[in-house]
Amino acid sequence: MSIQSLDPRVTRAHIEENTQEGMQEPLDQLQTYEVFQQKKRGTHHQHVGSVHAPTAELAIVFAKEQYARRGVCVNLWVVKTSDIFITEYEDEDIFSTTPDKYHRDPESYKVMDRIKAYKEKQLQQS
């Protein structure tokens, strides 16, 4: 029996009630792209999420619909998720500042002590 609906479009489509139609196979939902959005000229592009799309061109179309329907956007990038290389959170410690990196830290340059000592010495000598 086909579906009778309040929605005339559904009734007209003559959809059968119990079929095995529509079952998904791998890649039926295409591949994934990560989306980067620039909200304003002069700012960085930011990752905002992903879309499923068959090609980069269509990924841009879907990204515009999904992430730039309203609000501000001046530019979009998409890149295949499979092309992105990532670090592991487990290795988070590679980013932490260790004592052997103090030479990168402006705070680690303390010249005032030396200048003070130098000035005192000058005074004593005069």
């Binding site: 994934t32 990752h47 619909e65």
Partner: protein, 330 residues
């Protein structure tokens, strides 16, 4: 029942939830959540945390997609061009919410194909409210106002949860929901302040939708170790009853403001406790509808199946040769 953590009562040993988890990792995981940190897809997580999130986010995603159907019914017959445009925009937003949520769920390891299969075979559920028909234009107005109001309460609550991708999707979703709510309220107010015929239409729609609305947040949670664990893991952020109370508190006065009658003679607020009392919803009916016997279950799934089936050749034709599926990153 929208995107609610849901505890099975199949008598499974609750202590076995985390029995085979590494206690050190589990302690680190729980400390991170207690400190307010978000869990990201690549982080270690207990199997039960992953399982419950998949189920909850997937159900939420299906609710958005199926929820677009009863309202979509009225796009072609919306009264006036502006309302037609607004309804199309709202329905597009809902489908967009579904996409965001499917992506969030995919980061936990379930492919979109698997989720859609589980939807169309009836294995995964979606919110029971969408198994009811939008009989008149007034029904679509009541849905956009009150069902979306319930959805906002649920989504704002869940957006404070612990899983990063779900929270980020919800932040985006909540920003769009305020338009839905305003749009729905505008439509209800227009009818309620209109001709006697229009008032009657909106009152009848409210009568039809009140029981599903009371079902919306699901039955009272059973106090159990399982529920407690899900709350500690910030998967479940509020009890179903608390969300229902919040809904009643915010919206009953607004409905009464319009001179509409809510079809529950026991509905009233206890001014000392601030709690609402009401006729206990019929949970047997709720169960029946969830399990496939509501007025529109068959139609909703049939329409979904048809869309997947008829769209397949297009998707196949445009898919590049070297396509490779990888779960979204975050």
């Amino acid at each position: 029942m929208y995107g609610n953590a849901y505890v099975e009562t199949d008598g499974k040993q609750v202590n076995s939830l985390v029995a085979d988890e590494d206690p050190v990792k589990l302690a680190e995981f729980e400390a991170r959540i207690a400190a307010g940190e978000k869990i990201e897809p690549m982080d270690w997580m207990p199997k039960e945390y992953r399982r419950q999130l998949i189920r909850m986010i997937e159900q939420h995603a299906h609710s958005e997609i199926i929820g677009a159907l009863p309202e979509g019914t009225w796009i072609t017959r919306a009264p006036g061009f502006r309302r037609k445009l607004a309804l199309m925009a709202k329905v597009q937003d809902e489908v967009g919410h579904g996409q965001l949520l499917y992506s969030a769920c995919e980061t936990l390891g379930k492919s979109r194909e698997d989720m859609i299969n589980d939807l169309i075979t009836g294995k995964s559920k979606y919110s029971n409210v969408f198994n009811y028909p939008a009989v008149t234009w007034a029904d679509s107005a009541v849905i956009a106002w009150l069902i979306d109001a319930g959805a906002i309460i649920n989504q704002l609550t869940n957006s404070k949860g612990s899983y990063g991708p779900y929270c980020r999707a919800l932040d985006r979703i909540c920003a769009e929901e305020s338009f839905h709510l305003k749009y729905g309220h505008d439509n209800v107010v227009f009818l309620a302040t209109g001709t006697p015929k229009q008032r009657q239409m909106v009152q009848e729609a409210l009568n039809r939708w009140w029981p599903p609305i009371m079902h919306f947040f699901g039955p009272s949670d059973k106090a159990s170790v399982h529920t407690e664990t899900l709350m500690r893991w910030k998967v479940k952020m509020a009890s179903n009853d608390d969300m229902r109370q919040q809904f009643l508190n915010m919206y009953v006065p607004k409905i009464w403001d319009l001179g509409l009658i809510i079809p529950d003679p026991l509905l009233k607020k206890d001014e000392t406790t601030g709690k609402w009392s009401y006729t206990e919803p019929d949970w047997e009916v709720f169960k029946q509808v969830i399990n496939g016997n509501g007025p529109c279950n068959k139609e909703r799934l049939a329409v979904r199946r048809m869309a997947e089936e008829k769209g397949r050749w297009v998707r196949r034709a445009i898919l590049g040769e070297n396509a490779r599926y990888v779960a979204p990153l975050s």
